[in-house]
Symmetry: C2
């Protein structure tokens, strides 16, 4: 294998596939990046066996020559060192050559590295995903759907299925749901697809977080292919594979109240900042709990109390308050996560009682919903 | 005590004195910030008993009113919470009031915090430093002298005196020296002083690092007052006290070779980057050692070898090589620290043999010198 390549483009691809590589893997070859030089260009692969990422660099793009291939071939090199080396190379151009017994030479300017590589034939095969059943999402919508749900997955392995996000496809609509059993995030969107296929899968939260980091903020479509135990996201020059979580995701539809006894309308930013301030002291207490109560028909009060440190109260104007008076306590962290996930400036909160889950939505958008279970303190 | 104050100005001062406060202190009152409201303005104090910082906010500056004092007085409040609260207050203005039994109310916009304060009479007195013997340094020069020496102090408590920087004043010149016994950094400068006083003190490296962080990048003079066991740095509205280290600093003058057998002239940036690349692999081995050898009369080679990972070699052009051929090994980290501390684009390195300390200087500046002890490998 021998080729020369533009450094910046190469470094970016190395960085991308690195996101799949774990330094804690027990399989030595998976600490490496696999490099394949073909007649078409350079393919880089990284994997931790849960997530696999393939990045392709074509020989040419438009008029520009990116790679010059002198000899095709493959090698696996230590990912961490390779990444650091490529980033720090002195020249705009890098030459990579495999000499005897997997010795890999990296030349750039006056610098010459000689790395001990590994046998590429030992690198595991990526899952073979059949073409066919797939749907498309614009990259920015995909990233928004991930961002607005994935934070609510469980971090505990007690119920492994809750560490993933449930993706359901029903009647041309994709519904993403995450819950850790204390709060729930739901986001839906209409989907561009020819199929009437119905899916119900659970994608690990970690996979979605890594995917989101790699994707650019464009409107280019990402193709999504779902198989029995894998999902493949296909963007330009990038393949992202994730295994799916096994098991049935709980039916969360019964959790979401269909009626409400109290409804508040608030400016999202003002309310978020008030919660943030109240949580400064709440953090010291157990559970980071803040209280919300109605003062009159126009004003609510957010408060928290940490006997050793002190207390805080803040009044927040409400655009509209309807229904029964309410006093309720909840986790400041869950509320802040939910408010950050919502888009739009005005939000409404619907309560059905001080010990019942309550729902937060943007004022004029039914595609997203955040639900929080209150904490008993009053 | 009751006053209202501009939030941003107040937050900046809180941030400054916070640098003296350690969360690990065993003296509870020192986890607090002391606030004194006088007729002249607001004084904030933070201390960990090694370092004490006082920041003063005058009532007015030019035409602008910064503080309005309704009632003078003092209080001590938990520094960490107070800092976080002040940063996140909603309005441009903050009102602080002490009510009964050290309860401190912080009001801003619609937010009201009520913090449990501590008795200000229990706060330790800051060292009383007599006026009189002092000298001045422009702030930017002071910061440069700190930056160019303090990194070389010892991090080990085996010889506590080496954790400080030795400041010697002799014949109108200030000489700052730091060494951890493997390398040494020296920087000197002529001083503006009326006195013929001679000092020889050792300032803890930690104090100088914190001082450097607080000082702005201006040319305003900092007044420096030295007593038997304290040093006081006095900038505009800021007092920074540090205790001195006790004991005699070793005489380092004999360490610095006065002759040389080999002299190299190099571009500092090119050389630094080559060392940085060589250290990528060297870091894995013991001691992060790289080798330097002469190739011919114009080129040196930097290399390192980590049998498990691989090796790297890089040739670097030298502007001039004089004297005997040399092969020498040294810590890449020490070399990078030294090169970053030197200013100027061209540097020279003077060797007196493969096992003797060598000296790095800017090509046309005799006020600064870095010395490194080699490592035996050849």
């Amino acid at each position: 294998m021998k080729f020369s390549i533009q450094k910046d483009r190469f470094a970016q691809s190395v960085q991308d596939v690195l996101k799949a590589i774990s330094s804690r893997t027990t399989i030595p070859i998976l600490t490496g990046i696999k490099i394949d030089a073909t007649e078409e260009g350079i393919k880089l692969t990284g994997s931790d066996s849960d997530i696999s990422i393939e990045s392709f660099i074509p020989k040419e793009e438009g008029e520009q020559i990116i790679v010059e291939i002198q000899q095709t071939g493959s090698i696996v090199v230590n990912a961490r060192f390779f990444n650091e080396i490529v980033k720090k190379l002195p020249s705009e151009k890098v030459e990579i050559e495999v000499i005897t017994s997997f010795q890999t030479v990296i030349r750039s300017g006056q610098a010459e590295f000689n790395l001990n590589g590994l046998d590429p034939d030992e690198y595991p095969q990526l899952p073979q995903i059949e073409e066919g059943e797939m749907f498309k999402l614009p990259t920015d919508l995909l990233k928004a759907m991930i961002r607005q749900t994935v934070f609510a997955v469980s971090t505990s392995e007690t119920r492994p299925i809750l560490t993933g996000v449930n993706w359901k496809m029903e009647e041309g609509e994709l519904i993403c749901i995450a819950t850790d059993s204390h709060r729930l995030a739901l986001r839906k969107a209409a989907i561009e697809t020819d199929l009437n296929a119905e899916y119900n899968i659970v994608i690990p939260g970690k996979s979605l977080n890594e995917l989101s980091k790699i994707l650019d903020d464009t409107q280019d479509p990402v193709e999504i292919v779902i198989t029995e135990n894998q999902v493949l996201f296909r963007a330009k020059h990038l393949l992202f594979y994730s295994r799916l979580l096994e098991g049935n995701y709980p039916d969360t539809s019964r959790l979401i109240p269909t009626e409400s006894k109290t409804k508040l309308e608030l400016n999202a930013k003002e309310f978020l900042q008030a919660i943030d301030r109240a949580s400064l002291l709440a953090r010291e207490g157990r559970n980071n709990v803040v209280k919300l109560s109605m003062i009159d028909e126009e004003v609510i009060e957010v408060s928290s109390n940490s006997p050793e440190i002190g207390k805080v109260t803040e009044q927040v104007k409400s655009q509209a308050i309807e229904g029964e008076e309410i006093k309720i306590s909840f986790s400041a962290k869950y509320m802040m996560d939910a408010l950050k996930a919502l888009e739009g400036t005005e939000i409404n909160i619907q309560f059905t009682g001080p010990m019942r889950p309550f729902v937060i939505r943007p004022e004029h958008d039914h595609s997203i919903l955040q639900l929080i279970l209150p904490v008993r303190t009053y």
